[in-house]
């Protein structure tokens, strides 16, 4: 009787946990599972596929474990045959060398193709021409430069819907990892180097982005918003920024790169080569010395 009650209690507790979790999760945003762009969407589908493939092995393991532990426990009178010297079966061992190997071979093929397919440097096929954005990770803020539009922004990347973005990333600070989970996976931003990332959004919305790599005391604030808007409102936004925003020249940039956490603000671009100069400043010792690095 007491045992039944304990099991009942455990069962009820588990049901309660599942219900509470479900209610909670239905009320919050889960970026990785709610993709809003083609790249994140393919990554999400790949996640489901690989998880499914893994379950082919994992579920039998759990069933086997439960059955064996329950059935062969010492206290079970119906335990069945005890074979203390049974230690080898070519057939059985062959089975679990071969089946996981086949499974992993299949998953490997999927992986190989997906890795090319979702290579962050691979352009997104689209009717629109890609919009180039240069991203500089600073202590502790993200600077987005739109070289073709002559504007820039801090901690906010606004862009038109469905247009592929071609990001070029570098860092003028410690190593950072650019992560915009609803639109794409991560890529590192490193000083003296340039990495690239393509992404695009299918829906109008504001998405959470942040750095995933520790970069010093202000690391937690190293976050930004990505805002996808209609073509028309993007054009209007660009026009406004060019007209009203302060200028980003080298002096302003040097103020920006000091270590502090920042809010969102916008600039019109007065000095177009900032991104390349930042990379160059790390390339040769002579440059580094001049820049005081």
């Amino acid at each position: 009787m007491r045992k039944t009650k304990i099991w009942l209690g455990v069962g009820l507790a588990l049901v309660a946990i599942v219900v509470v979790t479900a209610v909670y999760l239905s009320g919050v945003n889960i970026p990785v599972l709610e993709p809003k762009g083609p790249i994140a969407d393919q990554e999400f589908r790949l996640l489901l596929l690989i998880t499914g493939a893994m379950l082919i092995v994992v579920i039998p393991v759990f069933i086997l474990l439960g059955y064996i532990v329950w059935h062969y426990r010492e206290g079970n009178p119906k335990r069945g045959k005890y074979m203390p010297n049974w230690e080898h079966s070519r057939w059985l061992e062959g089975l679990w060398w071969v089946i996981p190997t086949i499974l992993i071979a299949i998953v490997s093929v999927i992986t190989w193709r997906a890795t090319y397919q979702l290579n962050p440097y691979r352009p997104i096929a689209s009717n629109y021409q890609a919009l180039k954005v240069q991203v500089i990770a600073l202590d502790w803020k993200w600077l987005f430069i739109y070289p073709s539009l002559n504007i820039a922004s801090v901690n906010m990347m606004e862009f038109p819907l469905k247009v592929p973005l071609h990001l070029y990333l570098t860092s003028d600070a410690p190593m950072n990892s650019f992560w915009l989970p609803q639109l794409s996976g991560q890529i590192f931003a490193m000083a003296g180097m340039q990495t690239q990332l393509y992404l695009s959004a299918d829906q109008v919305g504001t998405y959470y982005g942040r750095s995933a790599n520790i970069s010093g005391a202000g690391f937690a604030s190293m976050q930004f918003s990505a805002k996808s808007v209609s073509q028309a409102s993007f054009q209007a936004w660009v026009k406004n920024v060019r007209k009203y925003a302060p200028k980003l020249d080298l002096a302003t940039y040097n103020q920006l790169r000091a270590p502090f956490s920042d809010k969102v603000h916008y600039y019109s671009l007065a000095y177009p080569c900032i991104f390349n100069e930042v990379i160059n400043s790390y390339m040769a010792p002579a440059n580094a010395m001049m820049a005081g690095k």
Binding site: Y24, M54, E87, Y208, A217
Partner: protein, 663 residues
């Protein structure tokens, strides 16, 4: 370029009174830390045991005592690692929105870095080397390890590294750059304090200790096995240790070199990994993971070995698929060296490179899966004795499989782009390391405890501890998977309230409360077991053991085997029990290593060297180095490194066990 960071002025280098702790939490920590040696000193003085401490422990060359010291250090450091957990979890549970919690960002980051460093290097490694020291020589029928002095020195270097980490709590600060200190953040430009230097030199010193221990056990296992024990007759624990120690021997030199290069950058203005000046931070990331990935297998393989012993013993059956198990170990050993790049798929390598390392990573799932199935079929048609070691094993299978599934997901590069450095990753590796390493070593301690103390650990408290740990562990880490999906990354000291993360962080915090209850039950278990020891005498073979260590009296005599056993099969002791062989051979004189404090002295020199290097006290660097080198030379000239126990003395010791049993 500014070279002023090389201090030549002042006898104390960068050291000053300003470096003492001044915020309340650190002061509490520092006081608690100082209390440990002070309490120990008072107890030793009151009980007049200083001489005993020196003779029996500080100078010992006995692998069993060294093993116990490793485990004691690991347990103490585990408590410190747990205190770090409490602060991390409290901070993250409260620091939502405008609330900034109990810790400053840099303090929080130091604690996160210390937690990782301590748990891996001084808890997991300590427990591992402790168990290896205790068990391997007994299991292979050896009277000692191959190089007892090297072994003792290795332990004291481990101790010196541990001491250096703790000194950082008292003077100066610790690294705030994560447990692997990626440059350029860990370079002088971004981390100007001594924190990273403490991190470098404690790991450098402890790492050399690990390397010495690794070499010692490779040679011990290959050369010291009792006659008749061919490699393919060796118990699985010893096999997995051999695999693990090969990894140590190949991986730790990489760590040593990498840390040295970073130290040269920081202390002498070089540019191996700096941003600019020709440095390349990507090289550091590659090197550190070329050590770091094998490191996780270094920890997990011996635990796999523990499970192999426990499952067979508690199923009262032979281990299923012995040869498969051995091949699986070596497949893992080899594969673990060609997967390191999966720690940074996000660095921007070409897809062929990423895909290769991803696939190699997945292939590791095959031998691991084989081991899992072999354990399951060891239980199949057995007679399962479901004592706590088996409970830990069953929990391991469940948790490790879930964690492993997450691991395969992250081995797919495009998926890793979404999981890299997120709390999903944190949940994954804790599931692997806690279930695969910690649970395994808990099971091992319960299993082998009676061998060294002649009484069993209390089963009821063991079960309470187990259930508290398991429930707490799941509560603490399942929410982290979900938080990873929600975009939460590791090492965040605060976050926006609008993200909706706080409830999950609070649940994770509740999990830690359960884990603490589990730890308290473990200490209660130890206390109760000691209290009731006289009614719970276990004798030499309490579990129906199958391997040679169970043939020895408990605790084993200093020379382990008075008569070397005869081995012609696997499960040698099981076979001997069935054959009922009683040896009547006369006892022989046995040579054992003579106690010496030189290992301790070498490590003290290393400690001074490390401490002085952290603070740039150059004269002390030289003093430390000279102490170590002179001690090594002195030792090499020692004409009498061993003493001999005469045959009659051996006979007397062996008889004393028999009268004890009779009484």
């Amino acid at each position: 370029m500014n070279h002023s960071f090389i201090y030549f002025g002042g006898l104390l280098g960068k050291l000053s009174l300003k470096q003492l702790p001044h915020d309340p939490l650190t002061i509490i920590g520092a006081v608690m830390l100082i209390m440990v040696p002070i309490t120990a000193a008072i107890v030793l003085t009151l009980t007049k045991r200083w001489k005993w401490l020196y003779r029996e422990w500080l100078t010992t060359q006995d692998h069993k005592k060294i093993g116990m010291m490793y485990i004691i250090v690991a347990i103490l450091m585990g408590l410190r690692g747990l205190a770090d957990v409490v602060m991390i979890r409290t901070q993250q549970a409260v620091a939502s929105g405008h609330a900034h919690g109990i810790l400053s960002a840099s303090h929080f980051q130091q604690i996160v870095s210390a937690h990782g460093t301590i748990m891996i290097f001084f808890v997991a490694m300590g427990l591992m080397f402790g168990l290896i020291n205790l068990i391997v020589p007994l299991q292979i029928g050896s009277r000692d390890v191959a190089f007892p002095f090297l072994n003792a020195t290795g332990f004291w270097l481990f101790f010196a590294g541990m001491a250096l980490v703790n000194v950082s709590l008292l003077i100066g600060d610790f690294s705030a750059t994560g447990w692997l200190a990626y440059p350029p953040l860990s370079e002088l430009k971004y981390s100007p304090t001594v924190g990273v230097d403490y991190w470098i030199w404690s790991l450098e010193i402890a790492g050399i200790g690990s390397l010495l221990a690794g070499i010692n056990f490779i040679v011990t296992i290959l050369k010291n096995r009792v006659r008749g024990m061919k490699l393919m007759l060796m118990p699985l624990f010893s096999w997995s240790v051999l695999g693990s120690m090969f990894l140590v021997a190949f991986a730790f030199p990489i760590l040593t070199v990498t840390l040295t290069l970073l130290a040269l950058d920081r202390s002498f203005g070089m540019h191996f990994f700096t941003a600019g000046g020709g440095g390349n931070m990507m090289m550091y990331v590659n090197l550190i993971w070329a050590w770091g990935h094998p490191e996780v297998y270094i920890l997990v393989l011996p635990a796999f070995g523990v499970y192999s012993e426990i499952v067979a013993t508690f199923s009262r059956k032979r281990l299923f698929g012995y040869s498969s198990m051995v091949y699986a170990i070596w497949a893992i050993v080899i594969l673990s060296f060609i997967v390191w790049l999966h720690h940074f798929f996000t660095m921007g390598a070409a897809p062929d490179v990423n895909a290769f390392f991803g696939i190699m990573t997945m292939i590791i799932a095959v031998p691991t899966g084989v081991k899992l199935f072999n354990w399951l079929f060891t239980m199949y048609r057995g007679k399962l004795n479901l004592k706590t070691p088996m409970l830990w094993f069953i929990a391991f299978v469940v948790v490790f499989t879930i964690g492993g599934m997450a691991g395969v997901l992250m081995a797919v590069p495009p998926l890793d782009f979404q999981f890299h450095n997120s709390l999903f990753l944190v949940a994954h590796f804790h599931m692997m390391i806690v279930s695969g390493v910690l649970f395994g070593y808990f099971a091992a301690i319960t299993y082998w405890f009676p061998k060294f103390f002649n009484f069993k650990l209390n089963e009821r408290f063991g079960r309470y501890a187990f259930w508290s740990w398991l429930i707490g562990f799941l509560l603490a880490f399942v929410p982290l998977y979900i938080l990873g999906f929600m975009g939460a990354t590791r090492r965040l000291d605060h976050y926006s309230a609008s993200l909706g993360w706080q409830p999950l962080f609070i649940v994770a915090g509740i999990g830690v409360v359960f884990i603490i209850a589990g730890v308290l039950f473990q200490f209660a278990q130890l206390a109760v077991s000691i209290w009731q020891r006289n009614t719970n005498r276990s004798g030499s073979d309490p579990w129906g053991g199958r391997t040679l260590e169970w043939s020895l009296p408990s605790p084993p005599p200093i020379y382990n085997f008075a008569r070397l056993p005869l081995v012609s099969t696997r499960d040698a002791f099981y076979a001997a029990k069935r054959a009922k062989v009683v040896s009547t051979q006369p006892y022989e004189a046995i040579e054992i290593p003579r106690n010496t404090p030189l290992g301790l002295i070498i490590a003290s020199g290393a400690f001074l060297f490390g401490f002085a290097f952290v603070w740039h006290i150059w004269w002390l660097v030289i003093v430390g180095l000279v102490i170590s080198i002179v001690a090594i030379i002195y030792r090499s000239l020692d004409p009498h490194p061993t003493i001999t126990i005469s045959a009659s003395e051996v006979e007397r010791i062996e008889r004393s066990y028999k009268t004890e049993v009779a009484a």
